[in-house]
């Protein structure tokens, strides 16, 4: 015990006992049937949470998992705000929107628990990346279980933390079981700390039931991270004395194993180790029991959220970015001048202007800023590394990982722009986009914002089935995510700027045939989408459609490439063409004004007809204006083919749009 004062030791003891008693209290509330939902508890693992958090400062951060009550109490959340959260109360730490698995409080340095087992690791690495980029001294400790090691997010997040020496402590609580499955069944090498070496950093296995050993190892890890020698992997050996979740009787844990670990209970061991007297224990225990009893009584009568607040906290309402930044934008030129730019050039200019105006803006992705490289797959970021080498983060091929890092950095106030080379790769990143970026604001009761811009090229362009899909359909129905799809350079730049200033996650789809990419990255069959782009700072607001041609007979609704094809047929049929442009939210005002006038709507979509964005627009029109006749022109329900003859048959073109429009006109005349 030398070197530790009595107050510190008693503090560790009290914190561990508080966790044990909190968990037991909650368990008995469940057994009584008083509490809703489910729980994943941590009795037996108290020393890991308390030992790690004792080594962190108030400005340091943790990420946690579905088994996060101990982490939360160790990081300083109050038992009351947690008990209220468990009872689903508005006064809970996440206003009742999170619950047991998403316990957290940003003002206390704890991100709401991430219930996808390794999902918090890339997020934590991104938080650490933001601290490094902004020269802040903070470190992040990311708690996860042995079960997380097998997920790709572990590998991708850990690898990037290693490449960039991030101040990240990877805290693996190895309690021998992922749910009911023993580590030896799912790992050839179950010495988890040894994995650190293969990534090129330091790992350490520690007795996780010895709070002082955990504390001292964590102190060393914190010191390494603050000195720029991170990350560090701590494998803490511990044991869960309770079920995986509340109905689990733990029959898979052998009795002798349970008894052996019970002999090494972290609280009882520390009581002996630190010579905690019976009087000291009694004093602490009485205080805890009284506090918890009060907490439960208060939580039982705490106010529940009003049902009218169901849809609160999905989006940030007011843009968090100071408008003053616009004024400081050094790229703004004399009023009135424009240049003819393609989409790739316009986006590049928009990104450069935003980076100049706001030091928090950075790009992260594959091949985006390598000298002699391409500037991303379609030249959008070409050359930006010359001026902003520190803010062009070239990643490994690890979409799940770097979208997680981007989300974590955004959560800490950065303004990342993450892009995939081909939209098809968004499937790899979708856990981070959908489960984290889009939901964290809601899960945290409105305390997190994720100002993250994502870019993804789509469209059938001679590359077969896996570099060609139109991905819009998979992301337009995600609560908390805005989706745009510009058809020209003016919109692309304006929407990008609006997205960066919006404060919410925004996914921008871009079409490969519309970029106007030059040189080696030029596309065969490209369509001219260039615009006269103002030299002044401007935005195109999110959530607004644009009428591209006024007409009387029929409304044609399209986005991306299909806008151009629709325009080719519009004159002969006197069609009104609407560039939907914002796929979430959809601009029903503009669409409604048009379809009420024409009485007919043809929705044109590149991509399979079943379950497309067109289906959503059709349903929306039918619900709002039932007398409007609606039809769709889309691709058949087949993967994108390679051979040009089939690809051309797959993708709607001007002829098919014209046929669709003629059909609806004939039907309604007949």
């Amino acid at each position: 015990m030398s070197g530790h004062d009595r107050k510190f030791l008693l503090g560790l003891y009290e914190r561990m006992l508080l966790i044990r008693e909190f968990e037991d209290t909650v368990k008995f509330l469940f057994l009584e049937g008083t509490m809703p939902g489910t729980i994943h508890q941590c009795q037996g693992q108290e020393a890991t949470a308390v030992g790690v958090c004792a080594a962190l400062g108030a400005d340091d951060w943790i990420t946690s998992t579905f088994r996060g009550h101990g982490h939360a109490l160790a990081k300083g959340l109050t038992p009351q705000e947690m008990m209220d959260e468990l009872f689903g109360a508005e006064t809970g730490c996440c206003k009742g929107r999170g619950g047991s698995m998403h316990m957290g409080n940003m003002s206390k340095g704890m991100v709401p628990g991430i219930a996808i087992v390794a999902g918090g690791i890339p997020l934590a690495a991104g938080m650490a990346l933001s601290f490094k980029m902004e020269n802040k001294p903070h470190v992040v400790a990311s708690f996860f279980g042995d079960g997380a090691i097998a997920e790709g997010a572990f590998h991708e997040g850990v690898n990037m933390a290693a490449i960039w020496d991030l101040p990240l402590i990877l805290v693996c609580e190895n309690n021998l079981y992922g749910a009911s499955t023993h580590v030896d069944l799912v790992m050839k090498n179950s010495r988890i700390s040894e994995r650190a070496k293969s990534y090129g950093f330091r790992g350490e296995t520690v007795d996780g039931n010895d709070v002082l050993a955990v504390y001292e190892a964590s102190q060393r890890a914190v010191a390494d991270c603050r000195a720029g020698k991170g990350p560090v992997l701590l494998e803490l050996l511990t044991y869960r004395r309770t079920g995986h979740s509340r109905r689990d009787p733990c029959h898979y844990q052998p009795k002798d194993e349970r008894e052996a670990w019970a002999q090494r209970d972290p609280i009882e061991r520390f009581r002996e180790q630190a010579h905690i007297t019976a009087e000291e224990h009694e004093l602490i225990n009485t205080r805890i029991q009284k506090m918890l009893a009060d907490c439960v009584e208060r939580a039982k009568v705490a106010p529940h959220p009003s049902v009218s607040g169901l849809a609160e906290y999905v989006f940030v309402e007011a843009p968090p970015r100071s408008p003053a930044l616009n004024v400081q934008n050094p790229v703004v030129s004399a009023a009135g001048s424009t240049r003819r730019l393609g989409i790739a050039e316009a986006l590049r200019e928009g990104i450069a202007e935003e980076m100049a105006a706001d030091p928090r803006v950075f790009c992260i992705g594959e091949d985006i800023g390598v000298p002699g490289g391409w500037g991303g797959a379609f030249t959008v970021t070409l050359g930006l590394e010359k001026k902003y080498s520190e803010r062009m983060i070239n990643t490994p091929i690890a979409e799940l990982g770097f979208f997680g890092l981007a989300t974590g950095a955004a959560m800490m106030g950065m303004r990342p722009i993450a892009d995939v080379q081909y939209g098809d790769f968004l499937f790899l990143a979708s856990d981070q986009i959908i489960n984290n970026a889009a939901k964290l604001r809601y899960m945290s009761g409105g305390t997190i914002s994720v100002p993250l811009v994502m870019r993804a090229p789509v469209g059938a362009t001679g590359r077969g089935s896996q570099h060609a899909q139109n991905m819009e359909r998979y992301f337009t129905g995600v609560p908390g995510l805005k989706v745009v799809a510009p058809s020209n350079a003016y919109d692309a730049k304006g929407l990008l700027k609006a997205a960066l200033r919006d404060g919410n996650p925004v996914l921008m789809f871009e079409h490969k045939l519309l970029y106007g990419s030059k040189g080696a990255r030029a596309e065969g069959g490209a369509v001219d989408a260039s615009s006269d782009v103002p030299a002044e700072d401007y935005i195109v607001p999110l959530g607004k459609a644009a009428v591209r041609r006024e007409g009387k007979n029929v409304t044609v609704l399209a986005w991306l490439l299909m806008v151009h094809y629709a325009m080719q047929t519009a004159d002969e049929l006197d069609a009104e063409v609407i560039d939907v442009r914002s796929l979430n939210p959809i601009d029903w005002d503009t669409i409604g004004a048009s379809v009420r006038k024409t009485g007919r709507a043809v929705i044109v979509e590149e991509g399979p007809i079943t379950g497309g964005v067109g289906a959503e627009i059709a349903a929306g029109i039918a619900e709002r204006w039932p007398s409007v006749r609606v039809t769709r022109v889309a691709s058949p329900d087949v993967p994108v083919p390679f051979t040009p003859v089939l690809e051309n048959a797959y993708r709607p073109d001007a002829n098919r749009i014209s046929a669709g429009v003629r059909q609806i006109l004939e039907e309604s005349h007949g």
Partner: protein, 80 residues
């Protein structure tokens, strides 16, 4: 003070009745929070149920072999 202990919600299917296979303490015994008080059979497994308070087991309301819905009072503990 007395505390009523209810049949816990340990079934994996809604609306299933849970059977008590045996009591592990007798009326009049001193009991502690956390000790195994009875054994029940769910639709998934036989498992022990822990006592929710310190005190004396005053009354057993549901005998071994009987099945009751979740939430039924099964025992009363006189809290010490």
């Amino acid at each position: 003070m007395e505390v009523n202990m209810k049949m816990p919600d340990l079934a994996t299917n809604e609306g299933v009745e849970l059977g008590i296979t045996r009591w592990l303490a007798n009326v009049g015994d001193a009991v502690k929070r956390g000790q195994a008080l009875l054994e029940i059979e769910t639709d998934k497994a036989v498992q022990e149920v822990e006592c929710i308070a310190n005190g004396t087991l005053q009354t057993i309301h549901v005998q071994s072999g009987e099945k009751v819905p979740v939430g039924t009072v099964i025992a009363t503990i006189k809290v010490s």
